[in-house]
């Protein structure tokens, strides 16, 4: 387990109302349900569909391990303009 800082962006942030949250999780896969526990409503598109960045680098595997103090960005998948 490692305490990481989670930041949400895009529609995901507006829907979840999570700007920044501290979460304990060992891997990215473990992180998603934990963040989900923080919200009251069901999301149309869940956290596990988000684009994930760890410390500014794109994370391509949900198995990736997390270290204490990591900053995890969850970007809502829909973008365009």
């Amino acid at each position: 387990m490692a305490e990481v800082s989670v930041k949400c962006f895009g529609v995901l942030r507006l829907d979840s109302k999570i700007d920044t949250a501290a979460v304990d999780a060992a891997t990215v896969a473990e992180l998603f349900p934990k963040v989900n526990e923080l919200i009251e409503t069901e999301l149309a598109i869940g956290f596990d569909d988000a684009l994930v960045y760890i410390n500014g680098l794109r994370c391509k595997s949900k198995k990736q391990k997390l270290n204490a103090g990591d900053e995890v960005w969850l970007l809502s998948p829909a973008s365009g303009g």
Binding site: G10, L75, A78, S79, G80, G81
Partner: protein, 643 residues
């Protein structure tokens, strides 16, 4: 009388010098070849322009055009286009606007308006059905955009300029309501002609070829736009400003005059910040279901908020993380009538010139207290404002710093840092009007925003860029907003970017480059219609013209080549598709050799597919498109080539 419905059927030509009007001939064959919009405008300009003609020549034409579906009840189709020789780039600019003028021009009975000559005094041209009056606008001269519009007939569609246009700032805009024909200095051409305003009103009802089928198509179209994650969710809720965060994540957020692709303070100037702390409500252009416009407060008044380009370029690109300043500046620039993209790009360049000691001036990265005053100086061409009013390219010729003068063909780049999306870099370089993200083919939407096609590989990018350049050219010519084209990206792929399907599509796009290249060369092979691409159906039901995807791409290809050919006639020589050395020669991310635009490599494929030589369409290419070609002997430089 036009055979095709949807169109008003006439083109009005107004001569400001003689205060005279006449009808400009426009046939059904012309309609079939161009559809309307920017391609129609290029076709009209092609008949008139001559080598050496300049933006501020009395006989430079302003060509205002609509599309066949404008005013036909189709969603997001209130668009109109203004094309002319740009004072910023000395080539054709085409500037698109979502205000009501286009729809009202059609109600008055005209598909297009050509404005020539130069008025002797400030003038307002008032069109009411068949009556055209030349009114003294001396009382409007000097007024800001909103007060000027308040003096005009309330129910008419309007085009006006602000002080920047009057003073011929080379990137001055034309406004219609609060919507803008922003790029390329069309407002300066209005100002040079002493033209403060044009209004149009009328009583004509738009006839369409098959009302029931069009209604059905429009219903499907509205549903499609509302259901799609980009047009139904992202844009209405966050506006285009919602791109700041993903652009930062993907290294595409232009920062410090395109020195970097990420900005530490991005969250403070993001779409989320705008939505959570400043948004009063969202709104949009006439007839639009997307409603991407932000409405915010400035001094207690509810006004239009900043879009992505404005937020990015007046924020991170100036090293400014104060969103309230950007909201205010956006309002001030709108009232003065200046393009926010070119203004911001010019300021960033001036700041770097100052930082490098090449031009001592009061502008500094991160310093925001003097910017509003500088805007006033630019709009009125006072002090250093007179220098800044000429834009980045001319400043680089005067002070140096060409390698970091961020423009293409003289037009400042939009907010996407192309070293993080190299296909977008190719698009910027090849875009006919200069550093425009949309005329470029908008590859960045595939390269990280929307889809996740490899942002650094040059492979396949030329073919895909050409495909989208041609397609978007035709969509614009039809009268539709380009944002509607996002629905072409399958929703499941956009919604689930980590899925196997998304991974296959993202990889497949690149692998399919050669196939897309074939489609670029032989659009006829796509002579089909697909239920997810509704433009051909809408055009066909509105006009009665047989239409399919392949035909639209072919029309787009015609437009893209014709505009390029016009630019060559006006003096644009070979090898004009360039980017500043910072973007092609310097790594954006130290140690990442791929983080620069491999332009030469991509251009080679691009020209081969296009049938161009070094950026100039070959005679054989022009002939194949039915463009007669301009006598090579009177062209400058290499001119046309069959080599």
């Amino acid at each position: 009388m036009a055979k095709y419905k949807g169109y008003a059927g006439k083109v009005l030509k107004v001569d400001l010098s003689a205060e005279a009007v006449e009808e400009f001939p426009w046939s059904d064959a012309d309609r079939e070849r161009t559809l309307g919009g920017k391609i129609m405008a290029a076709d009209i300009l092609y008949r008139h322009i001559k080598p050496g003609m300049k933006a501020f020549d009395e006989d430079n034409w302003l060509v205002v055009t609509t599309g066949p579906i404008t005013g036909c009840g189709c969603p997001s189709s209130s668009r109109f286009n203004i094309s002319t020789i740009s004072p910023l780039t000395n080539i054709i600019t085409s500037s698109n606007c979502g205000g009501s003028f286009g729809m009202m021009l059609k109600k008055a009975g005209y598909d297009a308006l050509i404005i020539t000559g130069k008025a002797k005094k400030p003038t307002h041209v008032e069109i009411n059905d068949d009556i055209v009056e030349f009114k003294d606008a001396s009382n409007l001269w000097g007024l800001h955009v909103t007060p000027a519009q308040e003096q005009l007939p309330p129910k008419a569609g309007k085009m006006v300029i602000g002080p920047a246009g009057e003073n011929k700032v080379l990137y001055a805009c034309v406004f219609s309501g609060e919507r803008t024909a922003g790029r390329g200095g069309v407002g300066a051409v209005f100002g040079d002609k002493n033209l403060k305003a044009v209004t149009a009103a009328g009583t004509r009802q738009n006839e369409v070829a098959d009302r029931e089928k069009l209604k059905e198509t429009n219903k499907k179209w509205v549903e499609q736009l509302k259901k799609h994650p980009l047009t139904g969710k992202q844009l209405p809720r966050l506006g285009t400003a919602g791109l700041i965060s993903p652009m930062h994540a993907h290294h595409i957020l232009a920062t410090k005059n395109f020195g970097k692709g990420r900005f530490e303070g991005f969250e403070k100037v993001s779409g989320e910040e705008l939505a959570e702390k400043h948004l009063v409500k969202n709104s949009g252009c006439v007839s639009c279901v997307i409603q991407c416009t932000r409405r915010v407060k400035v001094d207690g008044k509810v006004v239009k908020g900043p879009e992505l380009e404005t937020l990015g370029l007046l924020g991170p690109n100036l090293m400014n993380d104060d969103i309230e300043s950007v909201i205010r500046w956006n309002y001030e620039l709108d009232e003065l009538g200046m393009d926010t993209i070119s203004t911001a790009g010019t300021l960033a360049f001036a700041m770097e010139l100052n930082e490098k000691g090449l031009w001592e001036n009061p502008l500094e990265f991160g310093k925001i207290d003097n910017i509003s005053a500088i805007f006033e100086d630019i709009a009125n061409r006072r002090g250093i404002g007179d220098i800044l009013a000429d834009g980045t390219k001319r400043m680089s010729e005067r002070f140096g710093g060409k390698e970091f003068a961020i423009h293409a063909k003289g037009m400042e780049l939009a907010a996407y840092e192309p070293r993080g999306a190299v296909g977008q870099g190719l698009g910027y370089a090849t875009s006919n009007r200069g550093g425009c993200h949309l005329n470029a083919g908008y590859m960045v939407v595939l390269e990280g925003l929307g889809l996740n096609v490899n942002q650094y590989t040059p492979f396949g990018k030329a073919a895909i860029s050409i495909f989208f350049q041609n397609l978007m050219e035709a969509i614009s010519a039809a009268g539709s907003c380009l944002f509607t084209s996002y629905t072409v990206m399958p929703a499941p792929v956009v919604n689930k970017p980590n899925s196997l399907l998304a991974k296959v599509v993202n990889k497949g796009f690149i692998a399919l480059g050669p196939v897309i290249g074939l489609l670029d060369r032989y659009p006829g092979i796509a002579s089909i219609n697909l239920p997810i691409i509704l433009y051909p159906y809408a055009v066909q039901h509105a006009t009665g013209m047989k239409m399919n995807i392949g035909k639209m791409i072919k029309i787009g290809e015609y437009g893209y080549n014709l505009e390029r050919h016009c630019n060559n006639i006006l003096g644009q020589e070979a090898h004009a598709d360039t980017l500043p050395a910072r973007l092609t020669g310097e790594e954006q991310i130290e140690g990442n050799k791929k983080s620069k635009v491999p332009l030469d490599k991509m251009l080679k494929s691009y020209y081969r597919i296009r049938g161009w030589k070094d950026g100039v369409p070959k005679k054989s290419k022009l002939r194949s498109l039915g463009i007669s070609g301009y006598p090579a002997a009177i062209l400058n430089g290499e001119g046309l080539s069959d080599g």
